[in-house]
């Protein structure tokens, strides 16, 4: 499982992607992913908001995650 990182999320993690190896336990839902990254990188809990995109669509906490999904962490957007 590979998770795309953008903006401040990339700075917090220190790289452009977060990888879970095949043997690692992976989060099974959007909510679980949020909890996991908040524990591993406490800086995420200080952001104004934190969203997850699954297959390039915003996803609610109850959406389940599969190994083939394109998953991205969406920190507070600031376009325009």
């Amino acid at each position: 499982m590979e998770i795309l990182l953008f903006g401040i999320a990339k700075d917090i993690v220190g790289q452009a992607q977060l990888r879970f190896s095949a043997t690692e336990e992976t989060p099974t839902s959007v909510g679980a992913l949020k909890t996991m990254i908040g524990e591993k990188y406490p800086e995420f809990t200080k952001l104004s908001s934190l969203a997850i995109a699954v297959n390039s669509e915003y996803a609610e906490d109850d959406v389940s995650l599969n190994r083939n999904d394109e998953i991205a962490i969406i920190p507070p957007v600031s376009g325009g």
């Binding site: 953008f6 700075d11 920190p75 600031s78 376009g79 325009g80």
Partner: protein, 139 residues
């Protein structure tokens, strides 16, 4: 006829936008351009840097355009955002709409930029003399 133009580009050319939105059924065209302001909360900005999750950003921009076309019965709509490094006074985003009467294009144009700022995955880093900050990241 192209009704929606949705793009992420390196550099915005503002000179063509009214031709792009021009339409025989429209009596009004409203366009908003966001530009890099030299001072933000009293601090001098050196440049802005934009990055995006492009695939998702284009999807979200398309949703906004489609919603606006339906709600205000627009003839044409454009949402174009720049990424990369932008200097003071440079355009970073251009949104616009053409419609039969002016109420619709004004309201739609305002909706396009307001919603873009809320939902489209684009991130802006403000570079000052001695620091740089991801805008809106923290409360």
């Amino acid at each position: 006829m192209i009704k929606k133009i949705i793009e992420i580009v390196e550099k915005i050319d503002t000179s063509q936008v009214f031709s792009e939105l021009s339409d025989a059924q429209s009596g009004g065209i409203c366009v908003f351009v966001g530009t890099v302001r030299e001072f933000t909360q009293g601090e001098q900005v050196v440049s802005l840097e934009f990055e995006t999750y492009e695939k998702m950003a284009l999807k979200e921009m398309d949703k906004i355009a489609t919603t606006a076309v339906t709600k205000w019965n627009l003839n044409k709509v454009i949402i174009r955002h720049a990424i990369g490094l932008k200097n003071v006074a440079e355009p970073v985003v251009i949104v616009g709409a053409s419609s039969g009467h002016r109420d619709a294009c004004f309201e739609a144009c305002r909706f396009l930029i307001d919603t873009l700022k809320e939902t489209v995955p684009i991130w802006k880093k403000e570079r000052f003399e001695n620091k740089s900050v991801w805008v809106s990241a923290h409360p």
